[in-house]
């Protein structure tokens, strides 16, 4: 029993164990300090800076402090830092090759945060995906789409591709492409469309609606009618104004033509010759 006790005390007195305890303490203090610093940064800068800038500074401070304390803990355990750093250098080359995509995303993330094409809460459109920005992280941007799906977009793809921020400016223009029949009086069509625009309260009076004669289409005269509305009303306005245009066209007898083909026989006056094949076959019987 005495023998066992002496073994235990020998072990406790051992320099190595004490070093381990000290290292653990340093690491523990480091974690607490890093967390406190992170919370303090949120409090100090939260009011003056944008959400993602604060988030970036918080993370930077947290990991920097943690790294310093970890290095110090390793030193306490007796690791020679120059060897550790040397090994880390070789390792970083290997990791660099292996994590090329992550590194690219990381750098792209930093550029995105610096450039600020959008911020948390904006609605953006990337390729076919449209959604609200939930967070801008170092590796990716997270979106919530309108059908309530969570989409993760790698930062690298955002830097490379075209990103449209739908909520940058307070008003938006709705471009309607309208085709009317060739027989219609274009001035009347213009008046009807203008009347619809001025009647709809969601349609902005200024900037004025834009009427463009696009050209002579295959089946219709192609027109563009562009209207301005408040950003938040865009979808509701898109629906309401098109219903109103259809109703106004119906009331005024303006035709929206279907695509059609005219078969022309070579002369304006001659009728198109029609031969009833079935009747001829009946005669033979």
């Amino acid at each position: 029993m005495d023998n066992l006790w002496s073994h235990v005390t020998d072990f406790i007195d051992h320099e190595r164990l004490m070093a381990m305890v000290r290292a653990a303490l340093i690491l523990g203090v480091g974690v607490v300090l890093a967390k406190t610093a992170s919370v303090s940064i949120q409090r100090i800068f939260g009011r003056h800076m944008t959400a993602h800038h604060v988030m970036l500074i918080r993370r930077l401070a947290f990991y920097l402090l943690l790294l310093l304390f970890s290095v110090s803990a390793l030193h306490e355990l007796g690791f020679d830092l120059s060897i550790v750093l040397g090994a880390a250098g070789i390792l970083s080359v290997a990791i660099g090759f292996a994590s090329q995509t992550s590194a690219s995303n990381l750098i792209s993330g930093l550029f995105l945060i610096g450039e600020r094409p959008f911020s948390v809460g904006d609605i953006i459109k990337v390729g076919d995906t449209t959604g609200e920005v939930l967070s801008i992280d170092l590796l990716s941007v997270k979106l919530r789409t309108y059908d309530n799906l969570y989409v993760r977009l790698p930062n690298e793809s955002l830097i490379k591709s075209e990103v449209t921020t739908l909520t940058k400016f307070p008003i938006r223009r709705l471009d309607l492409l309208i085709g009317v029949a060739y027989k219609e009086d274009i001035n009347k069509v213009r008046d009807v469309l203008t009347a619809v625009a001025s009647k709809d309260p969601l349609c902005l009076e200024e900037p004025k609606p834009l009427f463009i004669f696009l050209g002579f289409g295959e089946s219709s005269i192609d027109l563009q009618f562009s209207l301005w509305t408040k950003r938040e009303n865009f979808i509701a306005f898109k629906t309401s104004v098109q219903i109103e245009i259809k109703q106004a066209f119906d009331q005024n007898g303006i035709e929206i033509p279907f695509p059609h083909r005219t078969l022309y026989t070579g002369s304006v006056t001659d009728p198109f010759p029609v031969r009833v094949v079935a009747a001829a076959r009946d005669d033979k019987h």
């Binding site: 400016f169 307070p170 008003i171 223009r173 001025s198 709809d200 309260p201 969601l202 349609c203 902005l204 009076e205 200024e206 900037p207 301005w228 509305t229 408040k230 009303n233």
Partner: protein, 284 residues
């Protein structure tokens, strides 16, 4: 079935209402309701149906499409069928409803952009007074000092943008107004408020007035006989040298209104009563 019985029960309780003033154009004020009573207001194109039940208020609205709002008929607190269901109906529930309800006119919650029928010039050194009318909202409160239950526009004005570009500017309401120059031409319209706008041009160039941005959120609302609503007078001075214009709010009923009483405080208080704005922020 239960609902039908309840509605029949309510229908028998219709009683006449106490009228605050005899003026037929005044539609605002305090109104008393007995339990189960329904009353109807008509202010121009808007019909308001209000039904009081023991534990809830039902506020209903109906709008008729009208393009001509120059002639306005006002019908106040007429008993109506409690079972009638308007196009829009909102319910507000209470522990127990009180017997009074307030209907008050308020000004728009954004600036109003007035466009004269045809633009005009104010030559250097000249001044003029325009009468600009702006749309009103009906604010319904169960208690005078409390948060209103609801606010609805009498005529929903069209939105408009006022600013140098589509990136910079302010979202406003567009007011279809004639910007009349004489008081005699001004029709009495109890569903719109009139603001006398004095324009003084101290610059060396003529001032072209096409659109005026009127910050109605800083204005008080006054009622005057015979049912016309007025706001504070506003003086816009174009300064001689710089590109600024000063906007002075007089903070009292305009002299043109005659005897007037305060109905509604401004939604925002301007600190000095004088707002200095870029010239382009007031005229375009």
């Amino acid at each position: 079935m239960v609902k039908q019985v309840m509605e029949e029960k309510i229908a028998h309780k219709v009683e006449p209402v106490t009228v605050v003033k005899n003026n037929t154009l005044i539609w605002w004020g305090e109104f008393s309701f007995s339990d189960g009573q329904a009353l109807r207001w008509r202010i121009g194109p808007l019909s308001i149906h209000i039904l009081r039940l023991s534990r809830e208020w039902r506020l209903g609205y109906q709008r008729c499409e009208t393009t001509d709002d120059s002639a306005v008929d006002v019908e106040r607190a007429r008993p109506t069928d409690p079972a009638a269901v308007p196009d829009v109906q909102n319910r507000f529930v209470f522990r127990r409803t009180t017997d009074t309800l307030w209907l008050m006119p308020t000004l728009a919650d954004r600036s109003v952009v007035a466009r004269p029928v045809s633009p005009f010039y104010v030559p250097p050194g000249e001044e003029t007074v325009l009468f600009v009318s702006s749309p009103l909202w009906v604010q319904i409160s169960a208690n005078y000092n409390r948060q209103p239950l609801e606010s609805t526009p009498i005529v929903r004005p069209s939105d408009t943008w006022f600013g140098p570009s589509t990136r910079e500017g302010e979202l406003c309401y567009a007011s279809t107004t004639h910007c009349r120059l004489t008081l005699e031409e001004l029709p009495i319209r109890p569903h719109r408020a009139v603001t006398p706008v004095q324009i003084i041009n101290r610059a060396t160039e003529s001032l072209l007035v096409e659109r005026i941005n009127l910050p109605v959120i800083y204005l008080s609302l006054y009622s005057a006989e015979p049912g016309q609503l007025w706001t504070d007078m506003v003086t816009i001075t174009r300064e001689a040298l710089d590109e600024n214009a000063s906007l002075r709010l007089h903070k009292r009923p305009p002299p043109q209104a005659g005897e007037a009483s305060l109905l509604c405080e401004p939604q925002l208080h301007a600190d000095k009563g004088i707002l200095s704005r870029a010239f382009s922020a007031l005229f375009s």
